[in-house]
């Protein structure tokens, strides 16, 4: 905003490529960045899944030694880090990046280059953490990195963990501020807060949770890093430090993180259900407010991860109560989703199956979660497979099911091609069966006393049967993911000829073409109600019957009848000129130019990281210089060419 567009005073001219490799490297388009997030996260999903399969193979039978204890520690740690920080968070970020601007009727996020910077920083964080496998051992102290184990471990693994998560944290914080400002400030005319789709609301809550929880873990990680590299004593009991401080800092982030992982999926499900039940979301305000309530209360429950630490009866009781309270807004959402389907004209498409699967699996995970809120019960369950079962039911049965539903739902919007419905249903049922075979038996194993994070178990404990069942289930999940991959690849063999609104949906992203033009909307839509697109297509008779609005009917918005007419209306003109901008009012639509600097600024971080780990000061200085050069080039480049 400080550089007048007419004055190209930058150090470099801005990149011009609109397709090919450089276009992706320099892109600042939220849609391309969303796709990059999605592909990267899915790649990490395959890697994290492979780690899970190795874990399950090792545990398939008693007394096995496919991997040794050290490798096992690395596997379960990397599986956790990968799935949380490199899969569910960025996959949610993919949906947020792609959809939020479209859903609120904006042309891009508010700071497009910062958005690109967030993606590259996240990618480099992931590659940095994974490079540890080749540089002396992966992180091995659990995704929670409990001190003092994480401090005294002789390998470099936990240093990679600390620095990698710090870089990922920078990426997420920047992205959170960017997306929060986008939602608050970039809404189309008439898009008041309470006309925003629930997915946008959940997006706002998640960004605020990120902005206020990541700083806490950042400090924890900095303290861990200083303890490991510079000999400080933050978590050193002998010097007067307290390892419990790490647990507080970690879980004060870690529990909001749980909602950071699940709220996006809840938002997705809240978009899918009304479309395929052909009913408005039941109790929109309740869903929104319960999402906000979950966000707030989520900051007050962290010590339920620490019941067994010995904080004392008063803190344990207080956190048990707050934990039970947070089940209330969660339960409200469940009933709203059920109410949305009730008496609906339900179409069981693949996205709908995943959404319903989400509700069922999440209820199971939620109920087992309430059992840990009871302190004496938690004493029995903590550190057993019962906990593993619980959080996989909410994070896989919840988050991943929701995200897969979202992929099936928005695939035609993003790529202009449908995923095959028949194959999609095979994908869903295989995943549902495999998932329940894997994680259902873990409840039993946990109650039988099988501890988490142990490499193997003796045959005499009688745990072999359910472990074998779980391993078979894990491979069924793997097959279902392969089915998805086949479906995805096959979809690109079909011609790109998708209508704007194939599902007869309700929100603004379906008002523009599939895939949307670079500038999203030829004309910024004016919003008159919640589910605006639906109300442009359908009206309600006095008897409460939904009838299509006739094409070219009355009203300034010229409501269109059905998807085809909608498509024609949105793209009657300016369609061919999508990339040069529509011509409305005689001026082209100004879109931000691509930039080299986001990737440059992010590239400095891994240099700083490697310099710190291998104690090579010049590399650290080089890293800072690269990042600083990136930011200065960024600040000084012309705002457009």
């Amino acid at each position: 905003m400080t550089v007048p567009t007419q004055r190209p005073t930058g150090l470099l001219s801005r990149p011009r490529a609109t397709s090919g490799f450089w276009a992706w490297i320099t892109t600042v388009d939220h849609k391309k960045i969303g796709i990059l997030y999605g592909i990267t996260a899915f790649g990490f999903f395959l890697i994290g899944g492979t780690e899970a399969l190795l874990i399950r193979l090792q545990l398939a039978r008693p007394d096995q030694a496919l991997v040794n204890a050290e490798q096992y520690n690395e596997l379960f740690t990397m599986h956790g880090i990968t799935m949380i920080f490199l899969v569910v968070m960025p996959l949610s970020a993919a949906f947020f990046n792609y959809l939020l601007p479209l859903m609120i009727g904006a042309r891009d996020v508010v700071f497009p280059r910062l958005n690109a910077f967030s993606y590259w920083a996240f990618l480099f964080a992931g590659l940095f953490i994974y490079s540890s496998w080749f540089l002396g051992g992966a992180p091995n102290g659990g995704w929670f990195g409990y001190a003092p184990n994480s401090v005294v471990d002789p390998t470099r693994g936990m240093t990679f963990y600390a620095i990698g998560l710090l870089i990922a944290g920078i990426a997420s914080t920047v992205s959170a501020i960017n997306l929060a400002v986008t939602i608050l400030n970039m809404r189309a005319p008439g898009m008041t807060l309470f006309r925003m789709p629930v997915f946008v609301w959940m997006g706002l809550v998640v960004q605020l949770l990120l902005a206020f929880s990541l700083p806490v873990i950042t400090i924890g990680l900095v303290e861990l890093l200083f303890d490991r590299l510079f000999g400080t004593h933050f978590f050193d009991v002998a010097a007067g430090g307290s390892p419990v401080l790490w647990q507080h800092l970690f879980w004060l982030f870690g529990h909001p993180e749980v909602y950071i992982l699940i709220l996006p999926a809840m938002g997705i499900v809240s978009e899918i259900l009304p479309v395929f039940a052909r009913k408005p979301l039941f109790g929109y305000q309740f869903v929104v407010f319960s999402g906000i309530a979950i966000g707030f209360i989520g900051f007050g429950v962290w010590a339920h991860h620490m019941f067994a630490v010995g904080l004392g009866p008063v803190p344990n009781t207080a956190f048990a109560v707050s934990t039970m309270i947070i089940a209330i807004p969660t339960g409200v959402k469940i009933f709203n989703w059920l109410g949305t389907m009730w008496n609906g004209d339900i179409r069981f498409t693949t996205p709908m199956l995943f959404a319903v699967g989400f509700i069922a699996m999440f209820v199971i995970g939620g109920l087992s979660g309430v059992t840990h809120a009871v302190v004496p019960s938690d004493y029995q369950q903590t550190d057993t497979y019962y906990i593993v079962a619980h959080f996989h039911y909410v994070l896989f049965g919840g988050a991943i099911f929701g995200l897969f539903g979202g992929m099936y739902f928005w695939w035609p919007k993003v790529f202009g091609r449908m995923l095959n419905e028949g194959v999609g249903k095979v994908n869903f049922w295989l995943m549902l069966i495999g998932f329940n075979m894997t994680f259902g038996p873990m409840h039993i194993l946990g109650l039988q006393g099988m501890p988490r994070r142990i490499q193997t178990y003796p045959a005499s404990l009688g745990l072999a049967f359910w472990n074998m069942v779980a391993t078979i289930g894990a491979f069924i999940i793997a097959v279902s993911v392969l089915v998805f991959l086949v479906n995805a690849i096959a979809s690109f063999r079909r011609p790109r000829e998708m209508e704007a609104d194939p599902w007869d949906a309700r929100t603004l992203e379906w008002a523009t073409s599939s895939p949307p033009p670079e500038h999203n909307f030829d004309e910024i839509p004016v919003v008159h109600s919640l589910d605006d697109l639906w109300h442009r297509k359908y009206a309600e008779t006095e008897g409460g019957r939904v009838v299509p609005v006739a094409a070219g009917g009355s009203g300034e918005e010229a409501p269109a009848a059905g998807p085809d007419a909608e498509h024609a209306q949105s793209h009657g003109d300016g369609h061919d000129g999508a990339h040069t901008g529509g011509h409305h009012g005689g001026h082209a639509i100004h879109m931000p130019s691509p930039s080299y600097f986001p990737i440059v600024a992010a590239l400095g971080f891994p240099f700083i990281g490697y310099g710190l780990i291998f104690a090579i000061p010049p590399v650290i200085v080089l890293g800072f210089a690269i990042t600083l050069a990136g930011f200065f080039g960024w600040a000084l480049e012309p705002s457009a060419e």
Binding site: A106, N185, S242, H590
Partner: protein, 208 residues
């Protein structure tokens, strides 16, 4: 990045949905987030007050009058920052430039004071590794010092940009944004100075 980030859309969204400029809202969110960084660090410091098993203890090394003066210097820089913003809002680039430089110099004076203080503490035997006090003190105040250094860098950037005609009345908000950050860093110092220097730790265990 302190200076330039253009919004995606120029035409339709000249007015934002909340009425707040994009960058200002983003800066406020960032500062709110930054509060938690300092909150976690200050909590750590408070948790480890009096936890050191060996000296030197705070009372052995602190020179309150000295740090009071350097604190005064830092707080005075908030005044010059306000004057810089007022000047650019009037369109007086020359004055703005002077006050920006003054702010940066005051910030650097504070940083110099901190470097001197750290050096003298190390000479008295207090390092990062010495005890809990050294660990939590250096990381907290060093973290704040890093914030000041970044602020100085942004101020000097603004100062140099002003010679190219890039700082004008029209984009006075750039100065305002750096100002917001600068005042935040000053306010955090008030908290740190009070908690770390002014509130006595009491007699450490084992000290006579």
């Amino acid at each position: 990045m302190a200076t330039v980030e253009h919004a995606a859309v120029v035409d339709e969204h000249a007015a934002t949905s909340t009425g707040l400029p994009h960058l200002k809202l983003a800066m406020w969110l960032f500062l709110a987030s930054d509060c938690l960084l300092f909150g976690a660090l200050i909590s750590t410091y408070v948790l480890y007050r009096g936890a050191s098993v060996t000296g030197p203890f705070p009372a052995d090394v602190f020179d309150i009058p000295y740090t009071s003066v350097s604190s005064f210097v830092l707080l005075a820089s908030s005044l010059t920052m306000v004057l810089a913003l007022a000047a650019i809002q009037r369109g007086d680039v020359g004055r703005c430039r002077i006050w920006l430089l003054a702010t940066a110099l005051l910030g650097m004076t504070f940083l110099g004071g901190q470097v001197y203080e750290f050096t003298s503490f190390v000479h008295e035997g207090l390092t990062l590794k010495t005890n809990m006090f050294g660990t939590s003190f250096y990381v907290l105040t060093g973290f704040h010092g890093t914030h000041v250094a970044i602020g100085v860098l942004m101020l000097l950037t603004l100062f140099s940009l002003s010679f190219g005609g890039r700082i004008t009345q029209r984009n006075a908000m750039t100065v305002e944004l750096v100002g917001l950050y600068w005042h935040f860093v000053d306010i955090v110092w008030i908290v740190i100075f009070t908690v770390v220097y002014l509130i006595p730790t009491g007699t450490p265990p084992g000290a006579s």
